[in-house]
Subunit: 297 residues, 2 copies
């Protein structure tokens, strides 16, 4: 199976699960639910849930376990989607386009978009606190706690705050690293770590997979900066060049295009090195690392 | 101890716990954390956490249990505070004043206010997923699941969506009830129910306390509508008469002032009836019911 086939199959599995878990439109809250569904089913790469399942796969062959982790994988995607809806708001990045479609507030209005984000974030924790047939309540709590930490004020929300706060300001590379690590990296790392826990990783395996997750998160953000600087809006499905237009610091702004690509490759190699003690079951994670780098081609 | 003394003591206990649990200002995310703290420590009544602890008290004398429920009580207050910050936003109710102070976005700007709300909501689930010394992991999960349900799209967020959607529209009393039940009632009922679970209530006790919570939630919203129609801005600490100004349906709009007051009393009596099988340990809940009604005097 090639990585493209693997990603396609996993994307299908996750989208089926999202469809199964997510509230159906209808009832008294129909408009609100439609607004959530609009962004959740707008066709993302589903990277975070795929990483979560692939991390579990790296430590177990048991497909029952993998399937039972789908609600956790869905929760990660709900949190990612909520963050995009809020980031796109006029008061934040003021983006009109996301995944090639009008942003949530462009379709449903600002109030409904804020509430769609709130609803998705809350729904994620509803999924995470649902009793599991394969995980102990202690492990479910641990996973929920890690996700809340990664998504919260000392993670993703904190990173977005710093990003907004420092727009159009000249800032040092250290600050860029802090923003990337929190805004994007924290949830990606967490996706890998909770997949590892869900798969039954021992302490050493969990730490190695977490380390993989950190480098993958970094690589992903470097590549994202690279693409924002080098692609067209059509290729990206969101407004290209918007980072530099908004006076945001990026890797290309600090290092230029070539060195940015080199740094992405370094991060990818470090991610793969973190997997050195794993057998072939970690191949999907290895291929995922290459796949992220391939986007720069 | 009078109810005023009781409320004051409980408020003190909860504010100490919030101070202990909440992130201290400082570090790279200092502005964001300050924005969260600004609204969290703006001096609310702390009704939801007080109800939570009082419900636990109705089924146990053990002060260790009560004290160990404080993180759950704090989570409820964080969720309530986040909902106020988002409700006050220009895209929603566009309020300038809350608890006698400028609203969050007036002080920190819209982007920071949205993120302060997001941070508080996420932090609530971090608190709810923290291992407890008195509760089993299964009960912690149950509590987290109930809170997510009450705060989410089929609860508080759904109610707020309906409210915004129907501004300046003529609507039936049924719709007003649905909005109240979800926007305000769901989290209040849930506060009582999770306190009951935390205190070790048996099934019957939990159901009775949940029923008390439903009537208290209803009474609280009727009284809130009453006060919005009859008080000055100074008395309320938020803009008085803002409901009718924004074309929102309220109890006084449907029934007039006197009948609204009567309906509040009916709900209070129903709440107290739900406690009939409880001994003196439910007295704080009984006094709280009276206290809510007394605000109409």
């Amino acid at each position: 199976m090639t990585i493209s086939d693997y990603l396609l199959a996993r994307k299908g599995l996750i989208e089926q699960a999202l469809e199964r878990e997510m509230l159906p439109a209808g009832g008294p809250f129909s408009t609100h639910i439609s607004a959530m569904r609009y962004s959740l089913f707008a066709g993302g790469k589903r990277l975070r849930p795929i990483l979560c399942l692939a991390a579990a796969e790296a430590v177990t062959d048991d497909s029952t376990i993998i399937n039972n982790l789908l609600p956790i994988a869905c929760a990660l995607e709900c949190i990612h989607t909520y963050s995009l809806i809020h980031d796109d708001l006029p008061a934040m990045d003021d983006d009109d386009l996301r995944r090639g479609k009008p942003t949530n507030h462009k379709v449903y209005g600002e109030a409904a978009a804020i509430l769609a984000g709130d609803g998705l974030l809350t729904f994620a924790f509803e999924l995470l606190s649902r009793p599991s047939t394969v995980l102990s309540a202690e492990n479910c709590m641990k996973i929920s706690h890690l996700v809340a930490g990664a998504a919260g004020s000392l993670g993703m929300v904190g990173g977005q705050s710093l990003d907004i706060e420092n727009e159009n300001k000249e800032y040092r590379f250290e600050l860029l690293k802090t923003i990337h690590k929190n805004k994007t990296g924290a949830l990606i790392t967490c996706s890998v770590q909770v997949g590892a826990i869900g798969g039954g990783a021992n302490y050493q395996q969990e730490q190695s997979l977490k380390s993989y997750g950190k480098f993958i998160g970094l690589a992903f953000q470097i590549v994202d900066d690279f693409l924002d600087a080098t692609s067209t809006t059509e290729e990206l499905g969101k407004t290209a060049g918007s980072d530099s237009e908004r006076g945001k610091a990026t890797y290309p702004a600090f290092f230029g295009i070539d060195k940015t690509k080199h740094k992405a490759r370094e991060a990818i190699q470090a991610a793969k090195s973190a997997l050195s003690s794993f057998d072939h079951r970690a191949d999907p994670l290895r291929h995922l690392a290459d796949y992220i780098y391939l986007r720069t081609h």
